[in-house]
């Protein structure tokens, strides 16, 4: 592995920001002292196991929990019938018809996907709970199954939710610019009949889990979980459980990966809350791997139909239009937000001015989808990258040159896209150059010949992606104008305690992103101490008073929302420290310098107070302080609110996210002509996420995202049979790449600080799509020398590549070029 030098940083930074200091989290994690949800134990707790539907679609005729309750050590059960009495259906984000979907913690009357929880059983041991679940008798009447989203709106399609009147959850038309003009100006129109983005997820090492306690005196639940977006979980759970949000205390410390998959565990958490109250004991649930695969958090599968691209003869891209068909699975747990999130990156990295997307989302008898690393933008960016490569191949243009011709240029930044989003900064061409250099693109022709001599086909591919971070939640109103969400927020507190300890609390729920370390770096630089002097409380507790409606760790926003909240609170604390020191040392606040853990008179270095003295004065020795110190608490709380307006809902126009990181990936693949097996022989990922607080942490996330992407491109797929049975429900059939599968990854970086954020940072870590795009691109390039197949699927295992080698005409038939 190698790393290119970071280019010149344009913003001033403190001593620690920009340095890969030792991570605060690592000691406890490396010593096995982390506290994950399955590590938590309580006296007399019961273990929960869910009875799950073997059918993808069936009516529940009867449930008999009697045989389970007869077993010694079984504490109790919960059925959908009980849930329907004790709770209301979860709030639906969708406008009608999706708004009419009724979703409960357990199946009520009907099951809609194989693996759906039907009954919860609680017992003295995990094993007994599992055994007891096996003897619960559920009588089903199977119903016809809908697996293919393309058939969801057929007259004869089975209907999942009768209340919704069909399988449509949401549809909307996005149109910006003047498509008629674009196609009239075009020299060529490239048409692609169908593209398919496959269903997978960025599987976390740790499955979902929780330990829930109910306090009968205060009627409050404490939910120790690995849910990564407690703010969202609370607003889903509270109304359903008919309780105020302060009755739900969310606690987490270490989380073993999230990637968006752990946002939508609220149904299971409600079931646990009901059980803890019913059985008067803490209940613990750790999800099994097969259960996770069968029922939690798949990424959105999406089809693109009737793609038409208006192009000038020189490769200038004018516009495109298409129909997008999204498969949400059986329930709308975070959906249909995927129907708008993609619009954050509408033109991709390109200067398309005219875009129309007719978006439709349907429900099928598959596991519900949820955000997944690169949520919804990954699918759309895959479309734009596929368009680029297909247009390039059809018009015989160089894939590099057509990208450079159409990339938005650095001097156009901040750049307003056709739909009103503002790309803050970046240098896409430079990133591409670095990536190509890293993979030795100038030697590809010679390597192609060498590979050919060995019976291999060699191809070079490029994947250009944007990681849009810090959502403006008002975009949800494109989906449902009645929603009262907008903007975003995050909270941090920073205090100076009696013995001079600097203590930080965050509203976020880190899952390995090193929040403790980077928060300490920002605080240390702001108040003038070492990062070792800063204690950042591990994890999340919604009772810490550092919690707001959008608190959590998701959607590439900690470096912006989380660290800006930290910066704001640290600025407030520093101001108070200067004012207090000024009073004590007889000067003005401007005359105080904070550095080295001391508050010092600028004009007299001998006049200084250690931070410990400041903490002691306010907290324990405050008699006689003058009135102007009344508001000094040395305990600062700051809520960061990104500068957003509410977009134009009717025109679907406005700024949807605050920052845009760039990832340009490039790879070289070799394909075995006999088997279709793809080997990545060279790989480079170039990342530009603005100011990097901790380069090593950034690079770690780039590596992880790349592994997820390569897995999705070649091995990982949630494949269902016609009966709605998931055939890849374990790590035997669902192959997540391990170290030996991964090619050596070369990384490069530049820094284009965001002009919109206090630290110049941008959200990052979701650039995994770049890997899918560049592997698809490279496969198509390699196949150009063997029949010229067109890659139309995001997932290309050996058998699919082999088919493309055998019958390239079949894939080429979906592409048509017309001259105008």
């Amino acid at each position: 592995m190698s790393t290119t030098a970071t280019e010149k940083v344009t913003l001033e930074r403190g001593r620690y920001q920009g340095e890969s200091v030792p991570r605060k989290e690592d000691r406890r994690l490396l010593e096995g002292q982390g506290s994950f949800v399955d590590d938590i134990r309580r006296h007399a707790m019961g273990y929960v196991h869910f009875v799950r539907s073997p059918y993808a679609h069936a009516s529940i005729l009867s449930i008999d929990v009697g045989p389970a309750l007869e077993l010694e050590g079984v504490f109790g059960t919960l059925t959908g019938g009980e849930v329907a009495i004790a709770t209301d259906p979860f709030f639906q984000i969708a406008s009608p018809p999706g708004a009419h979907v009724k979703d409960y913690a357990l199946a009520v009357g009907k099951v809609r996907y194989a693996g759906e929880p039907v009954v919860a059983v609680v017992a003295a041991t995990r094993e007994l709970a599992r055994d007891a679940a096996d003897v619960v008798e559920v009588d089903y009447e199977p119903l016809p199954v809908l697996v293919d989203a393309r058939a969801a709106r057929n007259d004869d399609a089975p209907v999942l939710h009768d209340d919704a009147g069909g399988n449509l959850s949401w549809e909307g038309v996005y149109e910006w610019g003047d498509l008629d003009q674009a196609f009239a100006e075009a020299d060529r129109v490239v048409k692609i009949d169908e593209l398919h983005f496959d269903r997978f997820n960025s599987t976390p090492l740790e499955c979902d889990g929780a330990l829930v306690e109910y306090d009968r005196g205060t009627e409050q639940w404490t939910i120790h979980s690995n849910n990564q977006f407690p703010g969202f979980a609370a607003i889903m759970m509270g109304p359903a459980m008919r309780v105020g949000l302060d009755r739900l205390r969310f606690v987490s410390q270490d989380i073993g990966g999230g990637f968006g998959n752990k946002i939508t565990s609220h149904p299971q958490l409600v079931a646990l809350c009901l059980l803890a109250r019913k059985l008067k004991r803490p209940v613990q649930w750790t999800e099994w791997r097969t259960d996770f695969h069968q029922s939690m958090s798949h990424g959105n599968e999406r089809w693109f139909h009737d793609v038409e691209v208006a192009v000038k003869a020189d490769g200038t891209l004018l516009g495109f239009r298409c129909k997008a068909l999204d498969d949400a699975g059986a329930f709308l747990r975070y959906e249909p937000l995927g129907g708008v999130i993609w619009a954050q990156v509408t033109p991709g990295l390109y200067r398309w001015q005219h875009v129309k997307v007719e978006f439709t989302q349907v429900m099928t008898n598959k596991a519900p989808v949820s955000p997944n690393r690169g949520y919804s933008r990954m699918q759309h960016l895959w479309l734009t990258e596929r368009i680029i490569d297909i247009v390039a191949s059809q018009l015989e243009l160089d894939p590099v040159e057509i990208r450079k011709l159409n990339y938005i240029k650095t001097d156009e930044m901040p750049y307003t896209t056709p739909n009103g989003c503002v790309y803050d900064s970046g240098d896409y061409g430079r990133c591409l150059d670095i990536a190509l250099e890293l993979v030795g693109a100038d030697t590809v022709d010679a390597r192609r010949r060498d590979a050919e001599a060995r019976g291999k086909l060699l191809g070079l591919g490029i994947g250009s992606t944007l990681d849009s971070g810090t959502n403006n939640f008002a975009q949800s109103r494109f989906i449902n104008p009645e929603l009262q969400f907008s903007g975003n927020n995050e909270v941090a507190t920073v205090k100076l305690d009696i013995f001079g300890e600097v203590v930080v609390t965050l509203g976020t729920t880190p899952q390995g992103q090193g929040h403790e370390t980077t928060a300490a770096q920002v605080v240390a630089d702001t108040i003038g101490c070492t990062h070792e002097m800063v204690t950042v409380r591990a994890g999340h507790d919604s009772y810490w008073n550092s919690h707001a409606g959008f608190s959590g760790t998701y959607a590439s926003q900690f470096a912006v929302t989380g660290l800006s909240a930290v910066k704001g609170a640290a600025d407030q604390l520093a101001d108070q420290m200067r004012r207090l020191a000024a009073v004590v040392l007889g000067t003005t606040p401007d005359g105080i310098v904070l550095a080295g853990g001391m508050a010092t008179r600028a004009d007299n270095p001998d006049a200084a107070l250690p931070f410990m003295a400041l903490g002691a004065i306010i907290n324990a020795n405050n008699a006689g302080l003058p009135p102007e110190t009344e508001d000094i608490t040395l305990n600062a709380r700051y809520v960061y609110r990104p500068p957003f307006d509410v977009p134009d809902i009717e025109k679907k126009y406005g700024n949807l996210t605050l920052t845009y990181s760039t990832q340009i990936h490039a790879c070289v693949v070799e394909i075995d002509r006999e088997t279709g097996e793809v080997e990545i022989v060279d790989y480079a990922a170039v990342d530009d996420c603005g100011t990097r607080i901790h380069p090593q942490i950034v690079e770690g996330q780039v590596h992880g995202a790349t592994a997820h992407a390569i897995g999705a491109a070649l091995w990982e797929t949630f494949h269902y049979d016609d009966d709605g049975q998931l055939l890849t429900a374990n790590f035997y059939d669902y192959h997540v790449p391990h170290a030996l599968d991964m090619p050596p990854i070369k990384t490069g970086s530049i820094e284009s600080p965001s002009p919109f954020t206090p630290l110049g940072t941008k959200g990052m870590g979701e650039g995994g799509g770049g890997g899918i795009h560049c592997v698809c691109s490279a496969i198509q390039d390699a196949l150009a020398g063997a029949g010229g197949a067109v890659v139309t699927d995001s997932h290309n295992p050996a058998e699919r590549v082999w088919k493309m080698l055998q019958d390239p005409e079949a894939s080429r038939a979906v592409v048509h070029v017309a001259s105008t």
């Binding site: 799950r52 073997p54 059918y55 993808a56 194989a114 693996g115 096996d134 003897v135 097969t290 695969h293 069968q294 009966d723 049975q725 998931l726 055939l727 890849t728 429900a729 374990n730 035997y732 059939d733």
Partner: protein, 149 residues
């Protein structure tokens, strides 16, 4: 999953047919049968222990003869329920004279639902193949016995 094949017997079609259409004979063909009960001439139930890896999966099956064209064709459907698994199966047998013997084309569509189904076809296919082979071997044996009188 769909499995099919052809099996030749050294016996006339009537002998094969008699075995296939005698529920008590059929019970003897199925491996792992622990209990077999005839409801009527078209419906039977059985408790079967299917070998699966290190353990066995006990299933309660109900069988129904769905089509019958004497000594030429029969169709049978079966539905089984067990812990963590639901299995349904549609089978068809077509008999034709083959010299002095009989040629039988057979086909089965086996659907495995639930946790066991989630194991994937790579694991289940060999198990199904093994079970089918055992059934056919037992059938051959019973046909020979019946033909021998």
């Amino acid at each position: 999953m769909k499995v099919s094949g052809t099996r030749d017997f050294d016996a006339a079609p009537q002998a094969v047919w008699d075995v296939l259409n005698d529920p008590s004979e059929l019970a003897g063909l199925l491996p792992g049968v622990e209990h077999f009960e005839i409801q009527d001439e078209r419906n039977w139930t059985a408790t079967v222990k299917v070998p699966l890896g290190l353990g066995g999966l006990k299933l309660k099956f109900s069988f129904e003869k769905t089509e019958e064209q004497p000594i030429e064709r029969a169709e049978l459907s079966a539905n089984g329920k067990g812990i963590g698994a639901v299995i349904s199966m549609d089978t068809a047998f077509d008999l034709a004279p083959n010299g002095d013997g009989t040629s039988m084309d057979w086909a089965a569509d086996v659907r495995v639902l639930g946790q066991i189904g989630a194991m994937g076809q790579r694991v289940l296919q060999p198990i199904v193949n093994q079970q089918v082979e055992q059934v056919l071997a037992a059938l051959d044996e019973r046909v020979q016995a019946r033909a021998a009188g």
